[in-house]
């Protein structure tokens, strides 16, 4: 138990460090650019047509973030505002709070990401185990490995473009973009739910297929390397059915590194999914981010970046602390993602 406490403490340190370092990067990077950050943004705003209530906005920012005060005071007040869940005010859609914009986008991203990540992880692991168990010469290996390799090396958004062309433009099976039809009214009905599913199909499929390729490849090589282990040979010698050996012995052990893999690649998955949202104009955080980049809405860019980092760090933390609980053998002193 003592080692678990130590491990837990280590993970908490990492979580705090992640949050703290990313907040600091987000705070200091704009200030490394010469000139008054707000001023620079407003000049840019003016060059693309200006916005309503500019001076009110500047005043509000100066008041909240104390932009005329020394840097460390600004930093402290920035931390204080963040602690209260305040991410600032949007420039492009002043005076909407950044957090309000993000809150309405968040469910779409979380829904899309959770479903696709889980589906691809589970499916990829199962198919990878079956194919890995078959051995090198089996037709399953010959057929699946090259496909998985091709899928894995394709970025999400590249597959997304191909998907749009094939299934939305060429065959017109699925809608081109958005999360629901423009005519549909968000409500709790079967028609609306089906509409949402139809719109989510292509973005989800492009994320699932790409990650599936990776989970398949990694589970397959895990199973292949476990096949030579003594306990598998022993189980075989005992006369256990191969199916039982695969699922009860090899698969269960391979799930642990596979879970570690999930923790490591979470950030990568999220980053790819954000751009996939842009390709499909799917109204999640990625789409908000894209629009704020186009509209030079720096507070919103900052807010979405921070929110995503927090989410990834927290999800990582959850996987990390659950990991030793499912693996009693783990040597806590060397635990972590190794």
């Amino acid at each position: 138990m003592f080692t678990y406490v130590k491990y837990l403490a280590e993970r908490i340190v990492i979580l705090i460090a992640t949050v703290f370092i990313s907040i600091s990067v987000v705070f200091f990077v704009p200030r490394l650019v010469p000139g008054d950050p707000m001023g620079a943004i407003l000049v840019k705003m003016a060059s693309v047509g200006g916005s309503r209530g500019q001076s009110a906005l500047v005043e509000e920012y100066r008041r909240r973030f104390g932009l005329d005060k020394p840097l460390w005071e600004q930093y402290l007040s920035y931390l204080r505002e963040l602690a209260q869940g305040n991410l600032g005010i949007s420039i492009a859609s002043f005076p909407t709070e950044v957090i309000t914009l993000l809150r309405s986008a968040l469910p779409w991203t979380i829904g899309l990401l959770t479903v696709t990540t889980l589906v691809s992880w589970v499916l990829g692991s199962i198919i990878g185990a079956v194919v890995g168990w078959q051995g090198r010469r089996s037709w399953l290996t010959q057929a699946f490995v090259p496909i998985a390799l091709l899928l894995y090396t394709t970025p999400y958004y590249i597959l997304a473009i191909i998907m749009i062309f094939l299934f939305a433009f060429h065959w017109r099976i699925f809608p081109l973009s958005g999360a629901f039809s423009t005519a549909a009214r968000p409500e709790l009905s079967l028609t609306f739910a089906l509409d949402v599913l139809r719109h989510a199909a292509l973005p989800a499929l492009s994320i699932i297929l790409v990650s599936l390729g990776w989970w398949f490849l990694s589970m397959r090589s895990l199973i292949v390397s476990l096949k030579g282990e003594d306990y598998i040979l022993w189980a075989d010698a005992k006369g256990l059915a191969p199916k039982r050996i695969l699922w009860r012995y090899a698969f269960r052990n391979a799930l642990l590194p596979q879970a570690t893999g999930l923790a490591i690649s979470l950030g990568h998955i999220v980053a790819g999914a954000l751009i996939t949202e842009v390709i499909f104009a799917y109204p999640g955080i990625g789409w908000v981010l894209y629009n704020s980049i186009k509209g030079l809405d720096y507070p919103v860019i900052q807010g979405s970046v921070l929110l995503i980092i927090f989410a990834v760090a927290f999800a990582n933390f959850v996987i990390d602390i659950a990991y030793p609980l499912i693996d009693p053998r783990i040597r806590y002193s060397q635990a972590g993602r190794g």
């Binding site: 340190v13 990492i14 394709t154 970025p155 980053a271 900052q302 993602r337």
Partner: protein, 288 residues
């Protein structure tokens, strides 16, 4: 952990024996050679928009067709492929170098330095670096290809650092390092004379990995509208194609050309990466 063959005949020989490495390297070199050779034949007036009739499908008049602004796709490719490769090269070199340095220091010296660096490595591993890149690129717009590559490289050190650290930890306790210590070689000497040769295949695999990640980051940033606006990269080609609605106008040659080139490039680099991996880790080879 180098194989006997590796120690006897050297790294390059072992790599040339590896089928995956050779196939990947051939695709990569072909892509580079064709586009670089092509760029020599391009006249300045071919680069201008309107040098061809707009929306021309691939054919005799234009090898790969033209876009909505009457720019030749083939001419864009001769600029985009070398530029994207340049981003990969610069960023991967910087990232691997920084990573190797941090990993060496962390693993070799241990103690407090190691504890702090490990936290830093873990943090930068878990945060998607694309987010920091978005933050920076949206403040300093209009960056050129090289500047972008440097910024991408500055956030690409975490993975190599972690790998190198683990390797140094395991190599450090081996006999030859202990002997070197007894002969009073200093830390740096041990690192470069004794440890470096064993790390080369790992560094190679990491370099290729960083190369892939950098091109991914560049194309991701470009699609978000943060790419080098005045230059062509594969990511920028996709960005322009998407923003002019190339898919819906059925100008397939416009978006398909950079898309399939990116796929070929990633596949080639991944095969090279697998080659390095197998050479440095003989157990992988048996798995096929």
């Amino acid at each position: 952990m180098a194989t006997l063959a590796l120690e006897r005949q050297g790294l390059s020989w072992a790599l040339l024996q590896n089928k995956k490495f050779v196939v990947g390297a051939i695709i990569f070199v072909l892509l580079a050679a064709v586009t670089l050779a092509g760029s020599l034949t391009v006249r300045p007036e071919d680069r201008r928009s309107g040098s061809l009739p707009p929306r021309l499908p691939p054919g005799q008049q234009a090898l790969l067709g033209s876009d909505s602004l009457g720019r030749s796709i083939a001419v864009q490719m001769t600029e985009a492929v070398p530029n994207s490769m340049q981003v990969g090269l610069i960023a991967a070199a910087l990232g691997t170098l920084l990573g190797a340095l941090i990993g060496f220091i962390s693993g070799y010296f241990g103690g407090m330095i190691d504890a702090l660096l490990r936290i830093l490595i873990d943090v930068f591993l878990s945060v998607p670096s694309l987010l920091f890149l978005i933050l920076i690129a949206s403040l300093v717009r209009g960056l050129g290809v090289q500047a972008m590559a440097l910024i991408i490289g500055m956030f690409a050190w975490a993975w190599p650092a972690r790998q190198v650290r683990a390797q140094v930890l395991s190599l450090k306790e081996r006999g030859f390092v202990q002997v070197a210590r007894l002969t009073r070689m200093n830390g740096l000497e041990i690192i470069f004379r004794e440890l470096m040769p064993h790390m080369l295949p790992w560094l190679g695999a990491n370099f290729v990995n960083a190369f892939i990640a950098a091109i991914l980051a560049e194309s991701g940033l470009s699609i978000l509208g943060l790419g080098p606006q005045r230059e062509m990269t594969l990511g920028m080609m996709i960005y322009w194609a998407l923003s002019y609605g190339a898919i819906l106008q059925n100008l397939w040659w416009w978006w398909l050309t950079p898309v399939q080139t990116l796929m070929a490039l990633f596949l080639a680099l991944y095969l090279v990466h697998l080659g390095f991996d197998e050479v440095s880790n003989p157990r992988l080879r048996a798995q096929g």
